[in-house]
Symmetry: C2
Subunit: 346 residues, 2 copies
DNA sequence: CTGAAAGCGCTAACAG
DNA sequence: CTGTTAGCGCTTTCAG
């Protein structure tokens, strides 16, 4: 039987350097107050022994974990059909590792998982949580908030959490939608329709609001409801064409639906952008560039969003332990700008 | 200043239940050997106090973490352009949480990150690692393997790790490719071309090999090199058309490239599938169904792949601590079957 | 500025 | 079957 490799402990390093454990600890943790001759000797011993601190032991006393949970609720929808998730995660990961924090990923499937997540969060394994609250009726966000762990949401959550509100980072969905519609108007289009996303997500609601900001007073029949899937985009487009054969522009709440709309438009012999101009939202890499014609769309910097979420949380954690639940003192929502990307569809 | 909520300890539960800490520990950990009257009293105390064990303290003594690292090397390529990553992660997550293990995600960007990952792994924060080794020259896999942590790879790694080889899970890339080409042949096509993926990834190599298995002796000019991106698919298709104007079928190593090929074919006035039949690989959700015409492709069960990776690793970990490095005694590679999905392009 | 000592909360022998 | 007793490896007062 192979002898398990015994990892060196603080004790071992101390012995080798001829100092006490306390001194080694100080050097390892960068707390000043160890004079140069000694410090160097310790560093050498650490090097020679290949010493790596035992996190468990450290956490036990510091009550810090240098780890944050990333919780993604995914009722089988979008999340896994598109590459957003990965982008966001990358942004988060970069920021976290830059600050020596670990990323613990919690994916929730159904309601049963909520209990598990709640327990995990309450279990004090992580210092904070980053949460993607996708649906309006999702009980998870509130549940987490109540767990008393510093939390930052991705996307504006539906509830605002009382005192001071919750921290979140979101794209400027409303502003982006306004830009899209104005662009269409600027092209001289008069009958601009809108295909909404799933209205139980704030992103869809906000994009719809943006459309209405610009199209105040327009025929409500110019709006058809979708749910962010390509199929719903096709369905909505047919509906719209039925009600308003004369429409000359469509703003879809995401690229997937815009792609569906494009197909239906072609099917009905409408030329894009000549007869009908189309604008999407997201600038989803493999989609927007590959449609026929390539899609004009509203881009959001999804990776930056992740990065900011992490930064916000880390700042919260740094604050010498803001007594849990007092997070509201800080500016709560961070809204990232969007950019209109012009391709050929509008 | 809000008093930090003091989480109850084993001690507290013991006191409340009027038993010793050891007894509580036994009940909490499900080790039998506590008679019913007592056990129930303990459970109640746990409930009343809302006791949750402190993982750090537990790990300190058990040397177990019930956590595994998932390491994804992504030199800015595919990984984040497609939804695979998320799928795989979901499979892993499901299996892991079913066994009460946490998922620590490590994303590596460049070589600098390797050191960090190495340190983390050596730091003994996790019990094992799941690694996606994407590129042939990636030093990471070997580095990890040497860290002596039980490891399972996603996708056949390029090196085989010596004694007994490494554990990995992969799709039957070669078999899937053979099926694709045979399908084309079965359609009566005679001049079947192939667009390869990035040949520094084993998946691309294996698909290419599968093509050659069936097309042994075919004109090498029927093969054009791509790199899994849509642009490379277009380029390769042009090349192919230039060299072999008479080709009547194309097997592309992934759907993204197939989509690119489709566009070039249309541009050149070739009808699909009438003039040229096209088959892709992956069955990437938003792509394969949305192309014009919808793509016939080889599907791999990516989520299952993730699940199996986790299962394999967990089995390794359960083995009452297989002395690190002895993992080779087990069957090393697990190959998942693929399915040909027929749509309209072939 | 450095060392000694006291735990952090839990599990795992070992007794009883 | 249950309780007692040692630590796991580290940080952190508190003395010196």
């Amino acid at each position: 039987m192979t002898e398990t490799v015994q990892r060196p402990t603080l004790e071992a390093v101390a012995a080798r350097a001829g100092v006490s454990r306390a001194t080694v600890s100080r050097v390892v943790n960068g707390s000043d107050g160890v004079r140069e001759p000694l410090a160097e000797r310790v560093r050498q011993a650490v090097e020679e022994l290949g010493y790596v601190p035992n996190q468990a032991a450290r956490s036990l006393v510091t009550r810090r974990h240098d780890a944050v949970a990333v919780i993604v609720a995914e009722p089988e929808t979008r999340v896994f059909a598109d590459p957003f998730f990965a982008r966001q995660l990358r942004g988060i990961s970069k920021e976290l590792t830059a600050h020596d924090n670990q990323l613990v990923l919690l994916l929730t499937e159904d309601r049963d998982d909520h209990a598990r997540v709640g327990r995990y969060l309450a279990g004090g394994h992580v210092d904070g949580a980053l949460v993607f609250s996708l649906h309006i009726d999702d009980p998870l966000p509130e549940l987490i908030q109540r767990a008393g762990l510093p939390t930052v949401f991705g996307g504006r959550p539906y509830f605002n959490g009382g005192r001071g509100g919750v921290s979140y980072v979101d794209s400027d969905n409303r502003g982006g939608a306004r830009d899209a519609v104005r662009h269409l108007l600027g092209l001289g289009r008069r009958h601009v329709a809108h295909i909404t996303g799933a209205l139980d997500q704030t992103s869809a609601v906000d994009r719809h609001d943006g459309y209405r900001d610009v199209m105040a007073g327009a025929d409500p029949g110019l709006v058809a409801q979708g749910d962010f899937t390509p199929a719903s985009g096709e369905r909505a487009m047919r509906e719209l064409l039925g009600r308003h054969p004369g429409l000359d522009a469509v703003f879809a709440a995401n690229d997937l639906m815009a792609a569906g709309a494009l197909r239906v438009l072609r099917e009905h012999g409408r030329r894009v952008p000549d007869d009908v101009a189309v604008v999407g939202f997201d600038d989803m890499p493999p989609i927007a560039e590959q449609t026929e014609p390539p899609l004009t769309t509203v881009r959001q910097d999804i990776e930056e969003m992740g990065r900011l979420m992490a930064r916000l949380l880390l700042r919260d954690l740094d604050g010498t332990g803001t007594p849990e639940g007092t997070a509201g003192a800080r500016p709560a929502g961070l809204i990232l700008p969007t950019t209109l990307i012009r391709r050929s569809s509008a």
